[in-house]
Subunit: 459 residues, 2 copies
């Protein structure tokens, strides 16, 4: 690893004072990894507090930059395989503008989604994208995050209206105005959403907000197979029922939830549903969903209409990932994700579960079934090289299966360092176009080098 | 204009036989223009019938190519300022795949939206994007078209899942798989949607379909000012009412409609609304919309629940553009469009109408009010250079006003040849990034040269 030059260090220290640090403890906090990939700390951390500081840091030093928000990404997006400077934007967390009439706002990249919703609490609006972790809005835009409510409200792809981005040479780009639609030239907003910090640093994000539902209800329903759960979600979507959430948890996940939270859910293929609307709508949607579930062999609906009961239910769902640790204490969870057309989902889950049955470690399947997106959490012994290899091979088979089913190697976690070969497997020559764009906008490969592209593909 | 080389002509003639033509009559049919811009015919037309022919034509000859669908675009996207070869894909109109369970399909670029909906008629599904004209799906993707139902179902931006694109050097790129969401690398789909043929030729398009609504109802309501109509749309959107369509027509548009179709609507600021859902939902939405309209000074609702009455109503709306010709027979209509945040819409329309009052020719204002998108149709004497200049200056002021209101110079018509300076005015340095992408993917400026970028900006 090439050491950072003295001139670079003194330049950034002059700009940021004590907010520039090369201390190992600080660098280790920004190392990414944590799941299947080892932590890869940067050589220095630059904590910026304004757009102007981002610009000056980018323009000034010309060293590779790894944008950093909350560090909750799952494919080691913030790992620094070649060291260099982590640019931490988490102190940039102002709401710059809120227009309730237009149902949109502009926030700095370091604001987290929970903090944003706190800010919106009394406006009658909310920001629905919910990937589970309390990620920053900038990070969520970078990885094209989605989550439990995407079925109804869309993910970051649908809810980012515009971005302010700083290019590698320190130019400030506004990707779009804040009209709800536009045909004005190339869609730079969508190009930067999901570019994982490889094209520039996101400084602020203009977001669509949604009317907070008047009423909400939720239900849990157990099935005899993934087919019943998947068919219920498909049928509901097909008949135009606007499910707000439709989450699948397999029996292993439900066992983990019961162990971790002392709940008593049936340990079976389970669907968690949520409905948003006026009280009349919610009642109507729920009744239709119940009858669809019935037709697909679902058991009785367990209702949760009160806020507290509903929060309890979604706490179980949201923490199912962590709960899986109860299945094998000491293991390191490796959460991978794929997304397939919903017609392929049940078969893809069934095959995956047969594959899991042969693994030497436990694994849980759960996901956003209405979108065709599911996760497998592999509970791997971090000390065992054999298990890591077995897990990697399982992951390769899972990705191949998803691509074979006309799906994608990652529905919402992103490429990062972990799925670069999968990306090429999935999209082939299209990755060459992506690389051409990368080279055009970042010819010196300064922005999050190593992410998305294999070393021989970058500049 | 440089003549086409003999070798190029013989190569394409060998490939396409009589489907390659340099006849003036054929070239004139592919000249674009028609509204404010003069027709600019190509030097030859190559009618392709397959992906393979597109590839071979692109790879073979290396001459500039102008992709052509139905020729209904409004900013002279298919005009050929420097001549060269028009690639007509309108014979490519097969439905390649239809997956009712996944609510998606893949169609060739030359299929029109009405033909697609004919094909879907008995599936319970429909393709909602409706720009008015019976455009091709490839053309609609190219210009990022939207229209009357975008408020509820989104436009091409939201409904194109993937594209097959042929690059200028004849490589075939699949931009995405057909999962409903993906975080697999740069979003090439959205990059090509709205790129107006400047990055490659779209060969086929994978589209999201939607459940055809069980029930539909529509209503017309007159207001005393654009404010009442706009506020009704804003309030309805804000309280989460899923309006399927919310169209505004000013008094001039309504007068034109009455004249052209012998209807007897009030000649006032008018809102056309449509509701989709189950019969219960539709009744509920309509009742809520009625009470919101009431609060905003709306007159009585004129209902149209039966299909025939509804079609009559939407025929009036859809043909309002043509109807304006009745206001000044012999005039050439120039339809321009801008889109602003909805909070700015009423004010922007009012100022625009004051500006119109000073024009020496009639002009109508109408548009997709729920999205903040409106059109002005200027009825210009095609023989008068003075009127053309006056219209251009009016258009410049309209665009400046929209940008000042944080809106866009074009909500759905695109940049084409007509709004290249407006684009730069709106997005400034971002256009430099677009140009960098254009140069990276089309270094010889072969794809629809002259569109989006001013001559000094291209390769």
């Amino acid at each position: 690893m090439i050491p950072l030059s003295d001139s670079l260090q003194s330049e950034l220290r002059e700009l940021l004072g004590p907010r520039f640090s090369t201390a190992a403890a600080i660098c280790d906090q920004h190392a990414g990894g944590g799941m299947h990939l080892p932590p890869l700390p940067p050589q220095a951390v630059a904590s910026v507090e304004s757009l102007d500081e981002i610009v000056r840091a980018c323009a000034a030093h010309g060293a590779p930059i790894i944008p950093f928000g909350a560090g909750t990404s799952l494919e080691c997006h913030v790992g620094a395989p070649r060291g260099r400077v982590c640019m931490d934007v988490s102190a940039m967390k102002r709401v710059l503008r809120l227009s309730p009439e237009d149902q949109d706002c502009t926030v700095e990249a370091g604001l987290t989604r929970i903090a944003l919703n706190e800010h919106l609490r009394h406006t009658g609006l909310f920001f629905p994208v919910d990937p589970g972790a309390d990620a920053t809005i900038g990070g969520m835009a970078s990885t094209r995050a989605s989550g439990t409510t995407t079925l109804r409200y869309g993910g970051m792809r649908e809810n980012v209206m515009a971005l302010t981005v700083v290019t590698p040479d320190g130019r400030v780009i506004r990707t779009a105005q804040r009209a709800r639609k536009s045909s004005a030239g190339y869609d730079l907003t969508h190009l930067f959403v999901g570019s994982e910090g490889t094209l520039g640093v996101i400084a602020d994000v203009t977001l669509r907000l949604h009317a907070a539902p008047e009423a909400t209800s939720a239900a849990v329903c157990a099935f005899k197979s993934p087919f019943g759960a998947a068919s219920t979600a498909i049928d509901a979507v097909q008949c135009g029922l606007p499910l707000a959430r439709a989450e699948y948890l397999d029996a292993v996940s439900m066992r983990a939830v019961n162990r971790a939270f002392s709940t008593a859910y049936a340990e079976a293929d389970t669907l968690f549903l949520e409905f948003h609307g006026s009280p009349e709508e919610v009642a109507y949607y729920a009744e239709r969903a119940r009858s669809i579930a019935n037709e697909n062999g679902g058991g009785a609906f367990q209702w949760a209409i009160e806020t507290e009961a509903r929060n309890e239910l979604w706490k179980a769902r949201h923490n199912a990932g962590f709960a899986t640790l109860s299945l094998r204490p000491g293991a390191r969870p490796w959460s991978t994700d794929v997304c397939v057309p919903i017609s392929q989902l049940a078969r893809c889950i069934e095959t995956t579960k047969r594959d899991i049955a042969d693994l030497p470690f436990p694994a849980a399947v759960l996901g956003h079934i209405g979108d065709g997106n599911f996760h497998v959490i592999l509970l791997v012994d971090p000390e065992s090289a054999d298990e890591r290899i077995t897990a990697q091979r399982f992951n390769d088979r899972l990705v191949a299966r998803a691509i074979e089913a006309e799906g994608t190697c990652t529905g919402e976690h992103g490429v990062g360092l972990g799925k670069r070969e999968s990306l090429r497997h999935e999209l082939g020559e299209a990755v060459t176009l992506m690389r051409d764009i990368k080279r055009a906008l970042d010819p010196r490969d300064l922005m999050n080098p190593g992410n998305i592209f294999l070393p021989d593909e970058a500049a």
